[in-house]
């Protein structure tokens, strides 16, 4: 596949790693923000091939992992209603709520359907006029324009039996929260390449300047990741801090203006609770007033008073902030496995715990 295979080239990857090794003079801790990057690193075994002086910590860029527990419970409540068809990206189906998960609701007879494109929700709504189609609108900024377009189209096509359960989160606020936390010690960031495809990277310039930290926009394939790390380490070794773009084939500084425009048209920033981390101000999106009748929480007000109960053993919050590695959790591999997950980071295909369990625990054993 063009623009994928060549970035998985073993020879190029390993030679770039050699170059990296040759310029390192000390240990550095880098955080890759995006869960997709974590997944790719672990799946390719890149973490084992990198020089030991580089400590990669995995950031909270996994929308599945950080969707608040109460939203999962709300999703489960809605999906259990006989008058609702609940549509979602596949990632969310196994995420544990307080007592259940969407896959179990499906098994019990709930109409839960997996989609590839959010626009398919509208088709389902038109085919089932007697039910309400509720779509689980998760994601970072990358997924916001597609989710936003669905709302705009619902309005334009006069589709009334559609609603979205919104759980969007944004990256810059998370980086601020991490940098403000005294427990997080990160020397440089590998920023999320696909978020930046939409948002550009102009937002990171003042973050890089303020916290005096390198931020390199990085892609996902092994060559892309090593390229990003190389740029980051070069800055650190030269005592520099700025924003650089190591994913120029897809990212430009301004991002995608139309994508940003529709986000602004449909959503506005709001405070959001990140599962395992807590409340981060101005870190989420909610539907603007003129689209509020598409908000599932307003359409079904009874779900607003849901009580949640998180597992006491789960330390996914510490993992998401890079403060602990998954195998340092006492429940890791025992009570908590991909089959019996206690927290979202063990379920999501890119959750750090799942990635470690699936790909990396041999290296640790």
């Amino acid at each position: 596949m063009k623009y994928i295979e060549e970035y998985r080239d073993a020879d190029l990857t390993n030679k770039l790693i050699n170059e990296l090794t040759s310029i390192l003079t000390r240990d550095w801790t880098l955080m890759e923000v995006c869960g997709g990057q974590t997944h790719s690193i672990m799946k390719s075994g890149l973490d084992q091939l990198l020089p030991k002086k580089i400590n990669l910590v995995h950031g909270p860029g996994c929308p599945v992992c950080v969707t608040p527990l109460e939203l999962i419970d709300k999703a489960i409540a809605l999906a259990s209603r006989p008058d609702v068809i609940f549509t979602s990206y596949g990632d969310m189906l196994r995420v544990p709520g307080s007592t259940s998960d969407l896959l179990s609701v499906k098994a019990a007879g709930g109409d839960v359907r997996i989609l590839y494109s959010p626009l398919d929700s509208l088709k389902i709504a038109q085919e089932n006029p007697e039910k309400t189609v509720v779509f689980f609108g998760i994601g970072f900024e990358t997924t916001a324009p597609p989710n936003a377009m669905t709302v705009v189209q619902a309005k334009a096509q006069g589709i009334r039996n559609y609603a979205m359960l919104v759980s969007h989160v944004v990256v810059p606020a998370a980086i601020v929260a991490l940098m403000e936390s005294p427990d997080v010690k990160v020397d440089g960031f590998l920023a999320a390449g696909h978020v930046c495809t939409v948002m550009g990277y102009w937002e990171y310039e003042q973050l890089s300047h303020h916290y005096e930290i390198p931020i390199v926009i990085t892609g996902f394939e092994p060559v892309d990741v090593v390229h990003g790390i190389l740029k980051c380490i070069r800055q650190l070794e030269n005592n520099e801090h700025k924003v650089e773009n190591a994913y120029a084939r897809s990212v430009v500084r301004e991002g995608n203006p139309l994508g940003q425009a529709i986000i602004n048209q449909v959503f506005e920033l709001c405070d959001r609770t990140w599962r395992g981390i807590g409340l981060i101000p101005q870190s989420g999106y909610r539907l603007r007033q003129e689209f509020s009748h598409y908000d599932a929480e307003l359409r079904f007000p009874e779900i607003q008073s849901i009580e949640t109960k998180e597992s006491e053993l789960c330390i996914s919050g510490l993992v998401l902030q890079g403060r602990k590695k998954p195998h340092e959790c006492p429940a890791f591999g025992n009570q908590c496995t991909p089959q019996t997950p206690l927290g979202a980071t063990m379920v999501s295909s890119e959750g750090a715990c799942a990635a470690y369990y699936r790909y990396g625990r041999y290296a640790k054993s």
């Binding site: 063009k2 030679k15 770039l16 494109s117 990358t142 997924t143 696909h194 495809t197 990212v251 994508g259």
Partner: protein, 80 residues
């Protein structure tokens, strides 16, 4: 987050007032919405996430970056 896969635009059309395309991913063809890429043309490569094109792959940038990376790796081989 964000599984984004590059594919080639092979057809452009409109549905419900939205610009749509058929995208060829190495022989697998799927429809995607091109509303955020008004300047996209047939033959362009686009990064597709959840059925939406989010960027047009800059082929020149890609080539330049690849050349640069190959240069770095060649130099590193000489030193190593």
């Amino acid at each position: 987050m964000c599984l984004g896969i590059p594919g080639k635009v092979i057809e452009l059309y409109e549905t419900n007032g939205m610009k749509m395309a058929r995208i060829d991913f190495s022989g697998v063809i799927k429809e995607a919405c091109m509303e955020y890429l008004p300047e996209i043309k047939i033959g362009d490569y686009t990064l597709v996430h959840v059925g939406f094109g989010l960027s047009i792959i800059d082929e020149q940038e890609a080539q330049e970056t690849m050349d640069l990376l190959n240069q770095i790796s060649a130099m590193s081989q000489e030193e190593g």
